[in-house]
Symmetry: C2
């Protein structure tokens, strides 16, 4: 695990503006670079760009038209119990390793990547052409690595997830390139020499959560520049943020 020793002196988040509608097969990196150029923003190697899953999924063609979905018997059963569209349920089941919890119209599942989230990340909003849904990228870390190469900075791909115990959603890391996922204060001591306990912060999730506040859902801001966070480039993966099921006390 990478140890980050410098804390930021000033951490800034600002939107990448002017991003057009992203069609399937779109060169998302090139589009973002063009928007940055138009805004006269030069990315440095310590900059990080948080990119909303929705545009990554669209660029990668991870869009399904509901008219093309034939719901299974299981999907029809869950649809009857939840009041959800059976085709939507079918897509959720296909995107899930397993259903983790279900109550009322809420379906929490574990995706094939291991993310615990509502509806397996399948989302109806912001997709054109009527009744379509976006799916999470097949390999969000790979998507992040590609964007990191194209933009020359760190990349966090975010999605908006619910949480246990607390109301309200937070943008959360689903794909990662370059930036280490954690800030590790273990091994350091406080000013009295006590070793610090419980001091591994999920740094990229903290960055993602604040970046999500800058992404206007209604205003076409799918990407946010994060500046001022000091990090050392390495192989990194959003998978490191997933607690193995057998270690989790709430699964």
């Amino acid at each position: 695990m990478a140890v980050l020793e410098e804390r930021p002196v000033r951490l800034e988040f600002f939107p990448i503006t002017g991003v057009p509608e992203i069609p399937s097969g779109c060169a998302l990196g090139a589009v973002l670079l063009q928007c940055l150029e138009q805004a006269a923003v030069d990315l440095g190697p310590q900059d990080i760009v948080a990119v909303a899953q929705k545009v990554v999924s669209k660029a990668e063609g991870r869009v399904v038209r509901l008219a093309e979905i034939e719901p299974s018997k299981r999907a029809l059963g869950i649809a009857g119990e939840t009041g959800k569209d059976a085709r939507m349920v079918e897509v959720i089941l296909r995107e899930s390793r397993r259903i983790v919890r279900r109550r009322g119209d809420i379906v929490i599942s574990e995706t094939h990547h291991g993310f615990i989230c509502a509806n397996a990340g399948v989302d109806r909003s912001n997709v054109d052409g009527g009744e379509a849904v976006t799916l999470l990228p097949l390999d969000p870390d790979r998507s992040a690595r590609r964007l990191a190469e194209e933009l020359g900075c760190g990349i966090i791909i975010t999605d908006t997830f619910g949480r246990a115990w607390r109301e309200g959603l937070l943008d959360t890391t689903i794909g990662l390139a370059g930036v280490p996922p954690f800030v590790d204060f273990r091994g350091t001591t406080d000013r009295y020499g006590y070793p610090l306990q419980a001091s591994i912060l999920a740094a990229v999730d903290g960055l993602a959560a604040a970046a999500g506040l800058v992404m206007g859902k209604t205003e076409q801001i799918p990407a946010v520049v994060i500046r001022g966070f000091t990090w050392t480039r390495g192989d990194s993966s959003a998978q490191a943020l997933l607690r193995p099921t057998h270690k989790d006390l709430f699964l």
Copy 2:
């Protein structure tokens, strides 16, 4: 619930530097104002200051010397099973409404305020005089309101909490004054006119999480200024962020 319509154009986080050790009974607001003055930072009414629980607890005298604690039978039993200091376990039990989960040396409890966290927020680090622990403030919203009056800005009191399903901790809101807890995108539609689903963000938790990255655990940065977030002052409470137990699928 307050609806925030403006997204930040540039969201900034910077530390309040030069904060000395905070003794019991210390006028924390006055100390922070002095540090801000020395750094030539003028707070505006739209600014928010995130303050680490630890210094609030110390200022309020929420510190217990372990030598003064007589562990109960129950605490001795849990101490034997977990390997924890029985006096520490006793303090955790006193600070808890109930133990939510326990495995190995991990104790997750629900505090009297309703927070779900490790060790009921009782923490050994950064307390002087040997074997002492800090407790969470009795009423963190009240602590926040007092600081908000003294500093003339919004206040988020943060603590570093673990999460279900994901590794790494995030700073999280435990006390709140002025700033609405949520950003609500319900009722708005995307560019195709679809109503946005699942769009209530826990704004202050997003701000707290990023502020936590600027609070250097080892470098005496217990407070961070958050600038650029647009909000409308109101009565607010960190309690609004707590999902009622009967609605939670993971308790």
